[in-house]
Symmetry: C2
Subunit: 528 residues, 2 copies
């Protein structure tokens, strides 16, 4: 017996080790924080909806059926002049960090694997060493921007943070490739993938049956493999489970609902496809329209969920897209560069078709039902806006925030500010697919796809194309289609905007392309 | 326009790439396959329940309250002579592979990190190079056993396979450390961890708040971090979600519900703790009893789920533990080596207290309600039994199966076979905690904790202790407590069993310990 007692005395240390934890704080004072859903669509153009964002209902508005977007538009406010960047990753990094692309320098889309700049070669141009590895939650990862992501701040202030769908904020295996390293408590189906290999559960969303990594395959939705479930539906079902978690936790939630839709490559969503064929659309455009409506159904399903569980009155819904609609043919049907009309061009271009987005906000008790707002806002503005909505003040970030909260325009729909200049910076060239032709490059030049910077002030918009050494000036109020370059008529305005653009780029420590022949750094210039 | 058409022709290849998949088969002929729940408890002793497994209700049966085990016992059959191995990993590998431990050679428990044999030194003994890295789904991983796991066969035959809780079948980072590599469609909270760092959600189940690996922390239950949710409850809530998945899939399911309970280190499950204090138990034993009852509630919750969704009539429930009850003091309260009475010793020992398990089966329409069966069965028998229950025939495995289906005893409760010899092989020494004392080793010798092999045939049980070079023979029918060594009285029987044991060990290509001084391989011998 004595031996047992001695044994007891000796081994007790290995069993009674205790752990001291600070439980993840749920600040009781913050219990009134609203839930927030940011419903983010991929590659959706300004006109890809039955909700009219132009002053009149267009042919495109008539082509697409998005009844749940109409429902949201009736509940809240639509912004007719909301902007993103012209390609995916820069917008997403701006959203997560509040930084303008010139500052964060993830100026083009990121490849799945690290250290692979994605620029399409452009004659005479050498691209800068931009942050082609994306966003990083830690410093000192080469070619990444180190920043405090919005979800981390929300989580630290009591939110349950949910990432659903496309992430595409950094390259594998840097830390930012996993949303859980960017402040998200839960990640469903997001990683370094940009465009989905397949939308079809019957095709395992592009995954090989037997394990291993398949390029561009969607991760983490094994439940639906082999099932006739479209990707947008699978993400919605999983998002609702995540909201169940939030209800269990009795925490406010931030749901970043980032659909892979409506990115290529298109597959028919059979719930809606036949209808569009019947309406006379060709195979490709019917697939695209069905993809849009499947995304729209997801929005409706989430709104239904909020109503079912009595959450609607305390849940903000924001709707946004990350860049303009794709207008290459194929994969789109019809005539190239017509898919965002009346806007010019589309994804990858600095013209309006590449950067203007369908945006809506419903903030219960704050936004006015069925209202419209033409204040200009830009993607990085979501960062301070969301934190303001969440009543989070005095937060600290390692980065300087360029975005401005648009909450004031939500609170007062009549408020306007035309004194703020918005800028776009793209010292890159968009690459889509691996095949390019000389003919395409010629078209790209006329369609604004190439290295460029731009500024908008009031109704004026100035674009500088580095490759062409060309300045264009438009009056968007009277020329939304950017048909009439006014540099000759308004040289003083062009000069003023060129200077302001340079000043802002300098402030944000922008990187510039260089002239391959002379080695000289190229900056926006204007010679009347 | 011509240029656009050419562009179209060139780029079409990058967008129309198609994928050819074979959807995961759900064989329509197998639609009548039953659902199967294997409810596996960790370190639960034969008497750790209010269900009497001995011929009479014991003091221990009165001490613990497991109403849902009583409910299951009333529905089905309890096996009073069901066996496992004396420590965790060997049992789990036998279960997944159908192999006896002598054959699979994962004869002791596996450490979290690879290449770390866990044997406690034993005087004069050199241990063999056993498979201390555990089970592997691929060949050629050093010190692993390559085998076809049961979940893989079930999955390939239409089952949705769910792993919940403790896995502990291989060391990190070998493939077997992740249940998803062992045939499980879904893994909740299982990896290379054996004993849980903490049962408390308020302690994040042992995880540090800020990422990174924490030794013995439970993975994947972040939802419950900081919440007052006990681990057994969190696993149950997640298991029910997994069953929701199965209903969505309309597939039969195999749920391997492997609780971390009732492994040390103990923490009070506040749902049941106070009651046991009130009944006069000390802190440690009240914690243990509450841990048992929390596990029991999980069983009840799953049974309720089956009834709610009308699945009870087509769902088999099997209840099992992986080794005998822990009887070291501390962490247990009371007197050491008394926690499995009337059985001798406990976890880590080859005496009955280390290997006899509380086992029950409910097979709707097959097992007889409220029945008892004293047929001997052993852990590897679950493999062929489950596959027979699932109506899967002619399956192929890379390993030879030692287990025998006990389905015949479920179909006919009167059937008995006393001609089959069961063997245990443990050329190791159990290590629990990192502190050991000389006194403990002396006790261990008298309690059967040390390198040994054993055989049971009919009511006879023979044990050979390699370190002590000692043979013991017991008549379990008349001496369940293994108090009377009968070698002197029955030398012929001892010789016969020693020979049979050696024959079986040879058949299974067992590894043996060696004499450290002479370098001679030690095998069970008996000299009358």
């Amino acid at each position: 017996m004595k031996s047992l007692i001695l044994f007891a005395a000796i081994t007790i240390f290995s069993f009674t080790e205790t752990i001291s934890f600070k439980a993840q704080a749920q600040n009781p004072e913050k219990q009134s924080q609203p839930n927030i859903i940011l419903f983010m669509v991929d590659d959706m153009g300004w006109q890809d909806t039955s909700v009219p964002f132009y002053k009149e209902t267009t042919e495109l508005n008539k082509k697409y059926h998005t009844p749940n977007m109409e429902r949201l538009a009736k509940m809240g406010v639509k912004f007719t002049q909301a902007y993103a960047t012209s390609v995916c990753t820069p917008s997403r990094v701006s959203l997560q960090t509040g930084m303008n692309a010139a500052r964060h320098k993830v100026t083009n889309w990121t490849a799945y694997n690290e250290n692979q700049p994605t620029d399409e070669p452009y004659p005479g141009i050498k691209f800068p060493s931009w942050n082609y590895n994306g966003l990083s939650p830690v410093p000192d990862t080469p070619n990444t921007v180190y920043a405090t992501p919005i979800a981390e701040i929300l989580r630290e202030n009591g939110y349950y943070t949910i990432h659903v769908g496309k992430s595409h904020m950094a390259s594998y295996p840097t830390l930012g490739a996993d949303p859980r390293n960017l402040g998200y408590d839960l990640n469903i189906a997001g990683n370094a993938v940009g465009g989905p290999k397949s939308y079809l559960g019957t095709e395992n969303f592009g995954n090989q049956v037997k394990g291993g990594y398949t390029p561009a395959a969607i991760p983490g939705l094994e439940l639906y493999h082999g099932k006739d479930v479209f990707l947008s539906e699978a993400l919605t079902l999983e998002a609702k489970k995540a909201l169940d978690n939030a209800r269990f936790l009795q925490k406010p939630f931030y749901l970043y609902m980032a659909h892979y839709a409506v990115h290529a490559q298109y597959k028919p969503d059979m719930r809606f496809y036949q209808k569009y064929l019947d309406e006379g659309l060709g195979k490709q455009e019917a697939e695209y329209a069905a993809l849009l409506q499947g995304m729209d159904k997801s929005l409706g399903d989430l709104m239904d969920y909020l109503e079912k569980y009595n959450l609607a009155k305390n849940t903000i819904i924001m709707f946004m897209s990350d860049n303009g609609g794709l207008t290459l043919v194929p994969p789109r049907g019809g005539k190239a560069f017509t898919h965002n009309l009346p806007l010019k061009s589309g994804k990858g271009s600095t013209y309006e078709g590449g950067i203007r987005e369908p945006m809506m906000v419903y903030w219960p008790g704050v936004t006015k039902a069925n209202s419209t707002n033409n204040q200009t806002i830009i993607i990085e503005d979501f960062f301070p806006t969301i934190l303001e909505m969440a009543d989070i003040k005095n937060y600290k970030t390692v980065q300087k925030i360029d975005g401005k909260s648009f909450a004031p325009y939500l609170r007062n729909n009549a408020l306007r500010d035309s004194s703020r200049a918005l800028i776009w910076h793209f010292p890159n060239n968009w690459q889509e697919g691996s095949q390019r032709s000389k003919e395409y490059k010629i078209v790209s030049e006329t369609e604004g796809i190439g290295p460029s910077s731009a500024i908008r002030l009031g109704d004026w918009k100035l674009i500088y194309f580095y490759g062409l050494r060309k300045t264009e000036l438009y009056d968007l109020k009277n020329d939304i289609g950017e048909h009439h370059n006014l540099v000759t008529e308004f040289p003083k305005k062009a000069m003023e905007l060129t200077q302001l653009l340079n000043k802002k780029l300098e402030e944000e420590k922008a990187q510039f392309p260089t002239d391959k022949t002379t080695g000289k750094i190229l900056k926006p210039i204007f010679k009347p």
